[in-house]
Symmetry: C2
Subunit: 357 residues, 2 copies
């Protein structure tokens, strides 16, 4: 029996007949306002051969067919939220160690490529080894799964000590865990960092799972979590030719309250202008969250060697580096990209894998 | 007197002394966890010459200075929300008509450029006239204020009738008001459409202010508005080499409930899998919103001529076109870009204007 509580408008909107859906593109051909006002199930009969139902709709007589299998399919989770992630609250909880592969294997073997891109989707990062040490290579890596996002830092940027830096990233000082470009909206959702030279003393890398940290904060201090999800914070960046600002909470949640993105970067946090009680609640929560991030086990520490290319989710992971010797030989090249292209490549690779079975 | 309720942590975090803020970049040099646990205002004295205060902090003795002017500054609004927009509920309410300028004037005159880019920020669109009719020009326009966002449709796409279209946009059929790429996350926040040829019968353009429509829905039908802001909807797109999905509400609001972005496109609306009562509430709200969009006065109608380049906010405006004759000579070139770059250019142009005064 077709379940009695199936909403008629939903069922009709999902009709898969060639009049309702373009056979080539799968896109729907009707608008929701094209469907009859007084839409109702007319006659319903069981299908032959397959479990399912044919519906003749009132009042327009349109005929739709639905299989029980289709009707019973589960919801696809939003791949951007905590529900679709493997959170790692500490470096030690990365049971399988660093998700890594050689560039040659990644290029040659769809299964390796899928494993790496799924690591970005589920753990927030992966590390490609032996990527050719040459100019522009981080963009090549980005193009292997998606598209480069150009910004005021260029299509590619150089992370090394600069004479007149417009950003602390381009100095030799230590940088505590943060996300990049919190002052940009839409924020770049992926970052790539490709190591060309790392001979300086210091300059080690660190990653912290911001979703795990936000979930821990929610567990320990619900008021702090509420203040960080509920307070819109201005982030700002300004140089001679650029003036960016974004107004977003530190912890972004979806309408169901699931953690969906984090922003964290005191360098670019602008001046909050709110009533004193709200400001106090925000700063108390902010300090609690910042303390939690510095818990010693939370950070995964490693050192990039020439040829290593780190790909990470800039809406989830915080990245950090230790200071390095002034004038030290350390040079990374980086670029930004977006998660949508990466998720699309994952889906297409999975499709190919399923067809090959 | 320094107001008694100023939160100490906020005040200290905003210290502008060269030890707290990089003089070159303006970025903060301390982390929130670097500030003393027991931070408190020690001694406060009035500044000489300017209204303001010098604070000597306990327990660390750090000295900060704040002017009364700085303390009293108003909050900067989030430029992405309805609060920063001029909503136009009907074409007639666009008091000054279409915001338009010639490409030559836009290039030559900073004031013209600012006027056009501010129109995109406040009204959601502008129209540049006499843009050279040549390949790749829409990207030139995007680069005049920001950066092109490359997608699976390329850095640039051709809107004309195709033999084997992967999208209804690339056919001759009518398309009702919608946003582009709702299945992409982050969604491209700007779209540019540059007309190369428009000799076909039909193929007129239309724009609807989605923020004004969403605000009208909130006014008339609070349940519908709540269903559309509170229901996460899957949007999907799939072809041979692409499989995109995004899970977002139709009307996105910030934590304070302000309208911040809209997505609307039945073609790509996937299958909602929710309890029946939630599905029914969503579909009732969805149909109410769709009906409201079709109210005859709501849509601004115009016809693109060769050389016209339309720039519009894809998180706010719905765009539409009438059908055109099969095989008709109509060819637009388009690209996507992002609002952050546009807002940055607006801010820098305003800075220049203020300096020139």
């Amino acid at each position: 029996m077709l379940p009695a509580d199936v909403p008629a408008l939903w069922l009709r909107d999902n009709c898969a007949c060639p009049d309702c859906r373009d056979p080539l593109t799968g896109q729907k051909l009707h608008q929701i306002t094209d469907l009859p006002e007084s839409l109702a199930l007319g006659t319903v009969r069981e299908l032959d051969g397959v479990e399912g139902w044919e519906v003749v709709w009132a009042p327009d007589g349109h005929v739709s067919r639905y299989s029980a299998e289709w009707l019973g399919r589960p919801a696809e989770p939003d791949p951007r939220t905590e529900d679709a992630k493997d959170l790692w609250g500490s470096a030690a909880s990365l049971a399988e160690g660093l998700p890594e592969a050689s560039w040659d294997a990644y290029l040659a073997d769809d299964a390796e490529r899928l494993r790496m891109l799924e690591a970005v989707a589920r753990l927030g990062f992966c590390l490609l080894r032996d990527v050719p040490v040459r100019d522009g290579q981080s963009r090549e890596v980005a193009r292997s799964f998606g598209y480069v996002r150009e910004t005021n830092y260029g299509a590619q940027f150089e992370v090394r000590e600069e004479e007149r830096p417009n950003n602390l990233a381009f100095t030799n000082v230590a940088i505590t865990p943060h996300t990049d470009n919190p002052y940009r909206d839409p924020v770049p959702t992926l970052q790539l960092l490709h190591c060309l030279v790392n001979d300086a003393e210091g300059g080690d890398s660190g990653l912290v799972d911001g979703f795990a940290a936000a979930a821990a904060l929610r567990e320990r201090d619900a008021d702090a979590f509420a203040a960080l999800t509920g307070t819109v914070v201005p982030f700002v960046f300004r140089d001679d030719v650029t003036e960016l600002s974004a107004h977003r909470p530190l912890i972004g949640t979806d309408p169901a309250g699931r953690i969906r993105e984090v922003r964290f970067n005191n360098r670019g946090l602008g001046t909050l202008r709110l009533p004193a009680t709200q400001t106090e609640a925000f700063y108390a929560g902010y300090r609690a969250f910042a303390r939690l991030l510095l818990e010693p086990d939370r950070q995964l520490d490693f050192r990039l060697a020439p040829g290593d290319c780190l790909i990470f989710d800039n809406t989830r992971l915080f990245h950090a580096r230790t200071a390095f010797a002034r004038g030290g030989a350390r040079h990374l090249q980086g670029c930004y990209a977006d998660l949508d292209g990466l998720f699309s490549t994952v889906a297409v690779l999975r499709r190919k894998e399923a067809q090959a079975c």
